[in-house]
């Protein structure tokens, strides 16, 4: 997927057809469940369940592996830092100078890393199976002001455009002999000035044009809006919502009871 900004995979599956609000409820339930989760089995079970859902939604394996790869640096950082900052418990695995690494520390680090991955997969299950207009419409139906929703929709649509613009800018500066990779870290960061300034100027021009285009097409903030495909909670959505509520509640009770 290589950092594509619209992760949506168009398919005709039951997960795609669900109302976006149902899938948002799933994300919310995942957060409620995962944030306090203290058992590896529960988090691993959750991740396995999400992968089954993604398989059901016929999401290509390369998209799933892309997300794992994107999360890998964060996961690695948590895995390394958690045991160092939580050295309590036994058995002690490493005891050298002021560094002490214990098995509970490593296990908790693994749990935290998997938890973060679980949260990312929850959000991406929504994004991979919901197109942007439905996503924004769902947020608007949940109470987000329409203008904010439109801003979000435009922002999401323009991300690939800005990415393309940035690629063009980098090419243009490279063709002028701009070689930031030959600099040290600090100078390299400073060397990115030309591309970032050009990007900001380009984005401002784009915003200006877009504002005029919206006005020219009759858009007036505050006007009541209709939608081409109004959202509707169907029977399957209610079944999923009830099932989700029961499952989350049950797992929370199980989690608390296990403690």
């Amino acid at each position: 997927m290589s950092a594509r900004f619209n992760p949506y995979v168009p398919r005709k599956t039951w997960l795609h057809e669900l109302d976006p609000r149902t899938k948002m409820a799933f994300v919310g339930a995942s957060f409620v469940l995962l944030l306090p989760a203290n058992h590896l089995t529960l988090v691993l079970g959750y991740l396995a369940g999400v992968h089954v859902l993604l398989w059901q939604a016929r999401i290509p394996g390369r998209r799933i592996s892309w997300l794992w790869r994107q999360m890998a640096p964060v996961s690695l950082l948590i895995l390394l830092l958690w045991p160092l900052s939580n050295p309590g418990g036994t058995p002690v695995l490493i005891d050298w100078w002021r560094i002490q690494i214990t098995l509970p520390g490593v296990t908790q680090g693994l749990l935290a890393a998997l938890r973060v991955n679980g949260l990312a997969f929850a959000v991406f299950t929504l994004l991979l199976t919901t197109d942007q207009s439905a996503l924004v419409q769902g947020l608007v139906r949940l109470g987000l002001p329409f203008e904010w929703g439109l801003t979000l929709a435009i922002g999401l649509r323009y991300l690939p455009l800005l990415r393309g613009m940035y690629g063009g800018i980098v090419d243009a500066q490279r063709a002028r002999g701009w070689t930031p990779e030959q600099e040290g870290l600090v100078r390299r960061l400073r060397a990115y000035g030309p591309t970032l300034v050009a990007l900001v100027i380009g984005a401002l021009r784009l915003t200006d044009t877009l504002t005029f285009a919206l006005a020219a097409r009759g858009f007036r903030p505050g006007e009541p809006r209709t939608t081409h495909r109004p959202l509707r909670l169907r029977a399957i959505d209610w079944v999923c919502l009830v099932g989700l509520g029961l499952l989350t509640g049950g797992l929370l009770i199980f989690e608390v009871g296990w403690r």
């Binding site: 063009g168 090419d171 243009a172 063709a175 002028r176 002999g177 701009w178 030309p194 050009a198």
Partner: protein, 293 residues
Amino acid sequence: MAEAAAGPVVTGPATDPAIELRNCSYSYDDSIPALQCVSCSIEAGSWVALVGENGSGKSTLARLCNGLLRPREGQVLIKGEDIRGRPVGEVAREVGFLFQNPDHQLFAPTVREEIEFDLRNLGFPRQEIAERTEEALAIFGLSLCADRPPAVLGYGLRRQVTLASVLARRPSILILDEPTTGLDWGSTALLMDHVGEQHAAGCTVLLITHDMRLVAERASSVLLLHEGRLVAAGSTRELFAQPELLERASISPPPITRLSQRLRPAGMRGDSLTVEAFAREFEALLPESGDNE
């Protein structure tokens, strides 16, 4: 004009090639190939137009020539040297590249610093940077706005600033990617006159454009791309004499050439590229004024 297949095609006067592509292929994201087995040779000092419909691979080919893209297969040679492995910044010493959108290039707080940027990147001495910058400002008539931010200038002036910054490097090869898009006739003529001066001084010019009038007036040779393949290469006059080929590539000769072709039954050769050439030929066909009396 022969249709180009896989073999090298020579355009321009018979001297050493400035740019040579040998069986170059390129594809973005392993999908449909953007260029397929393109071979061509552009001689030093020539002015070559690169034409073809949208998505035919023109910009891809141009980006191969300055090292921004590397061919998946084949070789790109600049002045006889394979540029594989050479960084873009190094190739930039020889190849000046003018991008279609000037706003992709402009970032500096003043026009002067914008022009200096290229020279500083290429490691010119401070004194020479100052001299070349002042010279470019004077040549392009930008002295009055030298201390203004280029981003607030009008489109025509922004275009001139980008060309000034490229030409201040005095590259021996100049690649222009649709430089006249969005420019009025006066700005186009001014821009092309600056390029013409560089060409007269020995610079090789590769011009990507959809403006066939510009091709007819300026370029001596043409490379025609269609669906990622080089389908024709040769003189401008020869290309415009092939209506079936042009139609296949969604290209139409300039109106004056078409008029000239329509007047073949009246004795015109049908290969006029400019109004001046047409007028000369047409006047020669007219009977002497004395005969009418």
